[in-house]
């Protein structure tokens, strides 16, 4: 009888246990399906095969998204970790999973979206879009793909304090200092640390795609930085003064023909272009102070005129029209009494990290009384030492109070062109600088206005 009961299964009758279990599973599946249909489409592009090439403009001006699983982020990892060593990396990951620093089982709970551009790697949760972390590209040291059986891991080695915070629920509260100190036989040894961002993808193809995309990002960033480095080198060499600070010279041939200097760069100098459009000769007048300009034409040195020309050309290429106007405003404020300190800080903020080298071009235009502060400021922000992604060190021309006074009291050595030792001459030099600054400021402000009128874009 019991066997008959066992053998005969009437349709529609389901074991209570199975009913509960299956209902739960079906419910979860249904929920997962609903979730999948609710999720937004990713911002993605088709990549050319087999190397997954993407148009660089997309990485520069747009972004691309890929689906990943976020296992977590390990902090205070020794910086000497070899990201190419499968053994080393897996050992770290295994230990982290054991200690629950990283997710063990992979579920939809770890679903995330990685957004790539030339600026940063951004991770958000797939559902809800809450940001997990953001890593600027310059903080990314290496990317590795590790296949561990069915698991396809993409591990990104980054700087310790990358601007994002590790997932608070899974990571211990670690000391965020850059270095760990460990004792050795010879004493304390400082060790640089880094972070490991651990992601998982569906398959090998997805992992390779992610790695190749990041490789292209590195290429773009490194290329841009290299060209920027070249531009800075040219700019710095071009704007280093070739004469001593004293503006008094017996050399009458140094009196500039401003018109000639402007016309040599026809078509590239924006101020001249705007003036010519209005039918004015560049040498005749400026919108701001025609008489001052005319009076100073004969006084400005060739070097100053060319430096001005170069700097304004550079400003136009590096700053937007709004930024040029902001620059003009800051310059105006500085001339009207704002401190050099305030001027420097505001300019640094305006230029940002990628354009801070533009401050170098201001060097010839900073009055003597503020030059020391300016030089110190350049040093503190790392412009003088040429710090940046690609580092190099240039020997910078250092204008000190002593050399400035040398040029006014002792002249210029063999040339002896600018010997001046009395206070009257020094006061006149100060006036000359003021006049130069006034002229330069007027021109730059006019540039800001002309860009406004022309609706020019950088």
């Amino acid at each position: 009888m019991e066997d008959d009961v066992k053998k005969v299964k009437k349709p529609g009758i389901v074991s209570p246990f199975k009913r509960v279990f299956l209902k739960g599973e079906k419910g979860r599946d249904k929920k997962a399906q609903e979730k999948a249909t609710e999720r937004r489409a990713l911002h993605t592009f088709s990549l050319s095969q087999p190397d997954h090439r993407i148009d660089p403009d997309i990485l520069l001006n747009d972004y691309i998204e890929k689906e990943v699983k976020y296992l977590g982020q390990l902090s205070s990892v020794p910086g000497y970790l070899n990201p190419s060593s499968r053994t080393e990396v897996l050992q770290l990951i295994d230990n982290a999973r054991k200690s629950h620093q990283l997710a063990g089982q992979l579920t939809s709970e770890q679903d995330a979206v990685v957004s790539l551009s030339a600026y940063n790697i951004k991770l958000v949760w797939r559902d809800g879009e809450d940001i997990i972390l953001r890593v600027p590209i310059h903080d990314v040291a290496a990317v590795s793909y590790i296949r561990d059986d069915s698991l396809h891991l993409v591990v990104i080695k980054t700087a310790q304090e990358s601007g994002g915070s590790p997932c608070p629920s899974s990571c211990p509260d670690l000391n965020k200092s850059q270095t760990l100190s460990s004792l050795s036989e010879s004493g304390a040894v400082l060790v640089e640390v880094c972070c490991l961002l651990v992601l998982a993808v569906d398959n090998k193809a997805a992992a390779e795609e992610l790695c190749l995309l990041l490789s292209q990002v590195f290429q773009i960033v490194y290329t841009e930085s290299t060209i920027d480095f070249l531009d800075r080198a040219i700019f710095d060499g071009a704007t280093t003064p070739t004469r001593h600070l004293s503006l008094y010279s017996d050399d009458s041939s140094s009196k500039v023909d401003v018109k000639e200097a402007f016309e040599e760069e026809a078509g590239t100098f924006p101020f001249q272009a705007s003036m010519e459009a209005e039918g004015n000769s560049p040498s005749a007048s400026t919108p701001a102070s025609p008489q001052t300009k005319t009076a100073s034409e004969g006084e400005l040195s060739t070097t100053a005129a060319e430096l001005l020309q170069d700097y304004m050309t550079t400003l136009r290429t590096k700053l937007s029209s709004q930024e040029i106007q902001q620059f003009a405003t800051l310059l105006h404020e500085y001339r009207n009494g704002a401190s050099i300190h305030e001027f420097c800080i505001n300019l640094r903020q305006l230029y940002g990290d990628s354009r801070k080298f533009l401050l170098l071009g201001l060097r010839p235009f900073i009055p003597e009384k503020d030059s020391q502060h300016f030089e110190n400021f350049l040093e503190t922000i790392g412009v003088k030492d040429g710090r940046g992604i690609i580092t190099d060190s240039f020997g910078r021309y250092r204008r000190t109070a002593s050399s400035a006074s040398d040029s006014t009291t002792n002249g210029n050595g063999a040339a002896g062109g600018s010997a001046a030792s009395d206070e009257g001459q020094e006061a006149s030099e100060g006036d000359e600088w003021d006049r130069m600054i006034t002229d330069i400021s007027n021109d730059i402000e006019a540039l800001g206005c002309s860009m406004d009128q022309d609706g020019a874009t950088p």
């Binding site: 660089p56 290429q219 490194y222 290329t223 290299t226 060209i227 480095f229 070249l230 531009d231 800075r232 080198a233 040219i234 710095d236 060499g237 071009a238 280093t240 003064p241 070739t242 004469r243 001593h244 050399d251 041939s253 140094s254 040599e264 060739t302 070097t303 060319e306 170069d310 690609i390 190099d392 240039f394 020997g395 021309y397 210029n412 050595g413 063999a414 040339a415 062109g417």
Partner: protein, 210 residues
């Protein structure tokens, strides 16, 4: 020499004349060992002809290559050859600043001439660009030091030449930006040749003015 004369000479010695000193001068140097008189006569004749007809030397070379059915990229070959010192441009002043000028110019020309070997490897090419940047900066620093130290009466000619060099350096940078978009290496070679020519003109200017 006045500013105007320098300008005219620079225009005359335009880049097309680079073939004369980059290709033919080494040939004349070799020939001098065999027949000094003939070599000197030929050199003088080519210099005069080139002055009167800029680009003539290049045309002759191209025709010879065509006749011999030699398939080479002339621009690339010129770039590879352009690093050699041209005695006519070297400054023979003993002072350290002028020797530095010779040295920095030589260094820049040398690294520019390596571009054809490096351009196909992105990582190496980027390193080459960094080296070029440093070389340009060092040359300009040396130029600035000499101008500042000696305070020449005819400094305008020097300033003009420096300005031209900066202009072609910027043009080289722009060419690189375009190259990384369109991949046309030939334009980089042309721009590098121009920059080498400007480097030689700086030396020539200092040699004349100093």
């Amino acid at each position: 020499m006045t500013m105007e004369e320098m300008k005219n000479e620079a225009e005359t010695n335009s880049m097309v004349s680079m073939t004369l000193y980059a290709v033919m001068y080494p040939v004349f140097n070799e020939l001098e060992r065999i027949n000094l008189s003939a070599a000197q006569t030929l050199r003088a004749a080519f210099i005069k002809a080139e002055r009167e007809n800029p680009g003539l030397t290049q045309d002759i070379i191209m025709k010879i290559l065509e006749k011999k059915n030699v398939q080479i990229n002339f621009t690339e070959s010129l770039l590879r050859m352009a690093a050699d010192d041209v005695e006519e441009f070297m400054i023979d002043r003993p002072e350290q600043e002028f020797q530095d000028l010779n040295e920095k110019a030589r260094a820049l020309k040398h690294i520019l001439s390596k571009i054809p070997d490096e351009i196909n490897d992105r990582v190496r090419f980027l390193q080459t660009i960094k080296d070029i940047a440093s070389a340009i900066k060092e040359l300009l620093d040396t130029v600035n030091n000499v101008i500042k130290k000696y305070q020449y009466q005819n400094r305008r000619a020097l300033e003009h030449q420096k300005k031209e060099f900066v202009k072609y350096s910027k043009s080289f940078s722009d060419t690189l930006k375009t190259y990384f978009k369109d991949g046309k290496a030939i334009n980089v070679f042309i721009s590098a040749n121009r920059l080498i020519h400007q480097t030689n003109l700086i030396l020539q200017t200092f040699k004349t003015v100093a």
